[in-house]
Symmetry: C2
DNA sequence: CGACCGTATGTAATCAGATTATGTATATAA
DNA sequence: TTATATACATAATCTGATTACATACGGTCG
């Protein structure tokens, strides 16, 4: 069972930035990695990831270059910029707050759920 | 500073259901309560909460009645149904999974963030 | 008394990010 | 040669949230 698509909304870019923080990567690889690392629960669609790339490139958080497509389809690689690292840091801080607040709002003091 | 509106997306109904799980309430009160309990960070707009009510009523998760408006504007109260309680239980389970998975994807093994 | 504010609900138009659908292209395995 | 996995891309659509607007009651302050 995969999650409803609204669940990721607002976090897609953060997750992509975290992956690019570690190393340059490309759309297909990032999608597969998110699928694996989410226990098969988060299956980001092609269109979603490529439109996210466009936004983030316009925004200056990432930049792109074509990889040498030795054996296989061409790959467009993405690299995180200094701005991207700052954006990630802010989004991480935001996530830490959201996580705490949503846990309060959704779970509250229900002994069965805490 | 309030959160980006996408952050709540997909959780608005869960938060409303949790409040109604405790007691019947009405739009204005729920909005104020979420604002207080989120340390002023989640300011759900009127239109958002009233359209959410419409969706949830259609869906059968809640039902509604007019309160006796003694001194002040009329209030439309909402009550959670058995179906609503089931929906909440599912959404809670889903949130517990999402929370764990997003924490992995966003924070990973970064010692500074764990 | 009249203006304003807090309370309270509601709809229409719009926005943004995600999905579906569709298309292109290469290399490898059956 | 046909199918499959890899790889990228765009147009049309969906959905939930926002802005903007409208209505209405009761109390306060000048």
């Amino acid at each position: 069972m995969t999650f409803s698509s609204d669940i990721l909304r607002g976090h897609t870019e953060t997750v992509i930035l975290k992956i690019l923080f570690e190393k340059d990567s490309y759309g297909y690889e990032i999608t597969k990695r998110i699928l694996e690392d989410s226990e098969g629960r988060i299956d980001i669609k092609d269109a979603t990831i490529y439109t996210a790339f466009r936004r983030m490139e316009l925004d200056g958080s990432i930049c792109t270059y074509w990889g040498d497509s030795i054996g296989g389809a061409r790959r467009r690689y993405y690299s995180i910029t200094d701005k991207g690292r700052k954006v990630y840091a802010e989004k991480l801080k935001e996530w830490i707050d959201i996580d705490r607040i949503l846990n309060t709002l959704i779970r509250r003091n229900d002994p069965a759920t805490v």
